[in-house]
Symmetry: C2
Subunit: 324 residues, 2 copies
């Protein structure tokens, strides 16, 4: 076993095995994981986080991998966190890891981690961000956060990035679907992947139309654009990297990056508070009281609202008693 | 303005306008909404909740509407809550309402409500369940909860139903995608919609294969099956209703329905507690303290974990002081 201090030292020195260890501790919510993250936090803030999201089958992994290669060629240290909300009963990513291993992983220089939900989908979003912190502390200059953009916690991960890229494909209605799924709001720009397929130009046009609609209601400095790519052939990757660089520059000059990161930290602190309050509240006594009283709710002798109110009154009362 | 007591009376009498009013109050989180829900809760527990979910474009609305018609023909009182996590800047459902209006709504007897997220996606899941409670209190015997099954809060809504139906289409990889999205766990059975398209039998087989895999690891009384349907032509609707009835019977005889509903209420109470703790915690003083201290976090002079810990210590301390 490696002590925490040593682990922090090894992570910040960029030791790959230590990074993997640290992420595992975070993923498994080891007792010590908050203390570890707290120590690592002091070394974060230098990595640039890029969110890659979009519907299933849009080719996110391919583009993420090619982008990673692109940044490697520029001599940058690159890490990938791929979030895969896989079914709990398979216990992990389905194909993601293997597909990747034959590609960039062989490089040996891009750190790749697939994270899947084990039971709680809710915790996944937090853990992915914390894993990005570990990569940041380990000196990764580019951190790619790849996630299926189809739900709240996935959007949450993508929007925790400095630049968020939404990947779509030329399938009918995709623009509308993306809009429905909330992808329009988080996209700093769009990539129409598989642009060699029929309907590509039409799809680009449809996304632009929807974006135009957005621009009527929101005045922003940065105007999201739509790029075309064929990820599998490496076409359009340089252009994506250029667009990311342009967005980064725009954020840095406008002060937007600072604002974004401030908001991100605020949300993180609020989440930590929330979590700790839950732990403090649900003592075994109070959990038992809930189970006992639940039958009366089922019989409609009290309402969930009344029971919640009584449990909270008890919590406050206990704190008062302890203090007096 | 209608007083709360009168509103409760009108809702439980099945007054459509009162039901619409009550759901609006819930949706807008009016000050009074918890008190209203608390009063209505006493009249709930008789409606049977059916979750209809699946990926975008699977034809959920069509099947939901046809099912509603089916139950109407049986003389049952039917309500639909359609959850549409639409983009905040359009402010509502895109096509859903209109498509529906030309179909069952004209009937005048099926209560239909589309709910979209206004800002917070997180609250949507709670509100949808509460809207179902309103319908339940108003005497709806069948409550259809339709939602895009692509994220945590949507899965949350679907799994809050007594029977959950997952709709898929014969597109390659759909079984795998559904599995990844966590749909396999919540499905009481599957419907392969648009089964007149090529690849339908193969898709059914692929879902069955994955289900077989699940059955190896989980011993359950109820074995999810895969039905075929062509929703647009009304084909397979009777079979879906039969499967729902069979699942309901299985739940009722095994005691599973009681267990499910107990768990659902427990989660509801936990969510109410969580929400109230947040309100109590984030006083304006404490929010200001967070903003003040945030700069020191950004400058890496303290960590998010330290700041969260200090805010919580302050909260407990305050309760103690108040009590002494």
């Amino acid at each position: 076993m490696m002590g925490r201090e040593l682990l922090v030292k090894e992570v910040t020195a960029g030791n790959r095995r230590a990074v993997a260890r640290a992420i595992s501790l975070v993923e498994n919510e080891g007792e010590d994981s908050n203390a570890l993250l707290s120590a690592l936090f002091m070394h974060t803030g230098r990595g640039y986080r890029i969110g890659i999201t979009g519907p299933p089958g849009a080719g996110k992994s391919t583009i993420t991998n090619k982008l990673a290669k692109h940044y490697r060629k520029e001599g940058l240290k690159v890490g990938i966190i791929a979030v895969d909300p896989t079914s709990p009963f398979t216990g992990g990513a389905l194909l993601g890891d293997r597909v990747r291993m034959t590609d960039v992983e062989l490089d040996g220089e891009v750190f790749i981690r697939s994270m899947a939900s084990r039971g709680s989908l809710g915790g996944l979003s937090r853990k992915a961000k914390e894993a990005a912190d570990v990569l940041d502390a380990a000196g990764h200059q580019i951190i790619l956060l790849e996630t299926v953009g189809v739900g709240q916690s996935e959007l949450d991960i993508a929007s925790a990035a400095d630049t968020t890229v939404v990947i779509l494909v030329p399938e009918s209605g995709d623009g509308i679907q993306a809009m429905k799924a909330g992808l329009m709001e988080i996209a700093d720009f769009f990539v129409l992947n598989k642009a060699d397929r029929p309907g590509a130009d039409q799809a680009v046009q449809s996304i632009k139309t929807i974006l135009g609609f957005r621009q009527h209601t929101e005045a922003t400095v940065w105007m999201p654009d739509v790029l075309k790519a064929v990820g599998s052939e490496g076409k359009g990757i340089d252009e994506i990297a250029q667009a990311i660089a342009a967005h980064r520059k725009s954020l840095e000059t406008s002060g937007g990056l600072e604002q974004k990161r401030r908001r991100r930290l605020e949300q993180r602190i609020r989440a930590l508070v929330e979590e700790q309050l839950q732990v403090d509240f649900w003592t075994s006594d109070r959990s038992e009281a809930l189970q006992r009283e639940l039958s009366r709710v089922i019989e409609r002798n009290q309402t969930p609202y009344e029971l919640a109110g009584r449990l909270i009154a008890d919590f406050k009362n206990q704190n008062e008693k302890r203090g007096s």
